[in-house]
Amino acid sequence: MNPRRDVFPHRLDLQHGCVELSHGGGGRAMAQLIEELFLAAFDNAWLRAQDDGARLMVPPGRLTIATDSHVVSPLFFPGGDIGCLSVHGTINDVAMAGAWPLYLAATFILEEGFPLADLKRIVDSMAHAARHAGVPIVTGDTKVVERGKGDGVFITTTGIGVIPEGVAVSAHQAQPGDAILLSGSLGDHGMAVMAQRENLRFDTSIESDTAALHKLVAAMVAAVPGIHCLRDPTRGGLGCALNEIAQQAGAGMRLREAAIPVHEPVRALCEFLGLDPLYVANEGKLLAICPAEFADTLLAVMHGHSLGREAAIIGEVVADPHCFVEMATVFGGRRLVDWLSGEQLPRIC
């Protein structure tokens, strides 16, 4: 896009400049930030119209809407940053309804003094993620809070998608006898972020698994429209996601620890810090619950997709009035996989 020299004679200093209160003030500075940063990166017809809202064409069928706020620290981590995370997170929430995501909206809450160079890096990462996913960011909003009243940048994204005919995905559908499938290894995102925190400084090869799962989901629902439930095990990890589903479905779960993939460096770092990978966050994995007779077909479809190569059948849904999630351990015993009590904190011993 050509800069409009008549309106903004001095271009934004995206190398050395900082976010100022005026960038959220509704005046010329905000218009310039939108035009030279957000519009330049997300460039599409809806944004170019510069109206308050985007007018959308939607295909026939049921729509789904999901929203997600992102407050990650640090903002940049191995394998991703808050920008691509905010795109993937909402696309995945839409996809977990079995839907194909169509459009995204993005809201930025910026802290006064935040470097524009970092903001550009984040916005470019969002633009790349949205383009790669084929889901445009069609509207947005920017607010600036005083220095000390934010944490650099918070991003909220909202997405809408359309659910294919014949697909009815909900945790309430999970039934005893169903198979539980997991699309890949656990804990990569949470441990990549944790290893970067300033007081740990671990030198590891762990990278966040942040990824948009809608293409994998599309292949899965096309092959097995009768999938009962899809869930991305983000905060709280697999353990909390399965407990949520168990409660919604009014059933129990039986898992096989030996079948649950966890990459070696993640296992090692969890071991070192006294954390359980079952409760560590993921940003590019999904859980699928389907009737047992379709499990092998679904697994084969997942294996055929780059984001499902390590997919595995990790257990089954069982009748259990207590809705317990139990696991057969690699050691030969059994244990409960309970809800987390608060946040997972490292153990002392």
């Binding site: 071991e271 050691f331 244990r335 409960l336 608060g342 904190l345 153990r347 002392i348």
Partner: protein, 384 residues
Amino acid sequence: MKYLDEFRDGQLARGLAARICQETDSTRHYALMEFCGGHTHAICRYGIEDLLPGNVRLIHGPGCPVCVLPGGRLQAAIDLAEQERVILCGYGDLLRVPGARGDTLLKAKARGADVRMVYSVDDALDAACTHPNQQVVFFAIGFETTTPPTAVAIQQARREGLGNFSVYCNHVLTPPALRALLAAPLPSPHRRQGIVQIKGQIDGFIGPAHVSTIIGSQPYEFVATDYQRPLVIAGFEPLDVLQAILMLIRQINANDVRVDNEYTRAVSPEGNRKAQRLMDEVFTIRPSFEWRGLGELPGSALAIRPAFADWDAERRFTIPAIPAIDHKACICAEVLRGVTRPEECKVFATACTPDHPLGACMVSAEGACAAHYHYGRFRQAAAS
């Protein structure tokens, strides 16, 4: 994972479990206590109890440093954290433990107190260096394992003249707690499944892993000589625990009571002399210290020596003794001694849960009740 997977091998576990089954005497009962929370964690996480015959019972002991910290001292730390210009640094799972008034360090943090979770005392020293105008207090807790690093930090603070660093010392000692468990009076014998049992009688101990790397195996000798109970020091891996159980059963069957060491890859009879010297230089034994769930135990905790008084938070700040009485329905003392099982407590999983703990055994994931709640309560549900 090298050096870990070898100790978690399911096939070896089945072999050991079969041997335990063969060698247990079906006409008697074996009540074995694992003292440490680390063992409790391994037992529950790997489901070791499922591999044992019905007459071998594991009792989760009081070796969870977060659990046994009295609520009054925790409340004192919360009050300290709320003082102006104080940064309070503590270990992770300490932050959500309720103090005397049900308050927690996490709640204090939410109210604006500067409470920081650290992974080692070094992080607290770093905070003192980077915040010279604030008082950094390290909330030191733990058994002999975490004590030497605290000693090193205090020495370093003195060497570097770090005037804004101090330690609120709550380090406790393992052998006095073991002695208290053994010296407690027991209820009368009763019959269970045709076998005469004394509730709370402990037939043998799985001895601490990391603690023993510091103090060695010698300090436990009194368990065998004074109380005629076997003790086997074991590593924290699940195969270590199974092997220790087999060793204990053999000792009990042969009536050959002694202190044995399964964890020879890390523990020597005399322990880590350098660490012991460090602890002795910096700390002295308190005449008495309160343990949550066990009460006052003589000679069971450490205080900072007068030579290091300048780095002792109890001398730098006015820290009042805050009385904290556990909930009247709480029977933690009985649970910790194995007299009562967690699920037999009236408030277990009802009024007392990990989110709202009433007593010591529920406050940390390694506590006897919390471990049963998180990992094992499906067994109770199946039994009912």
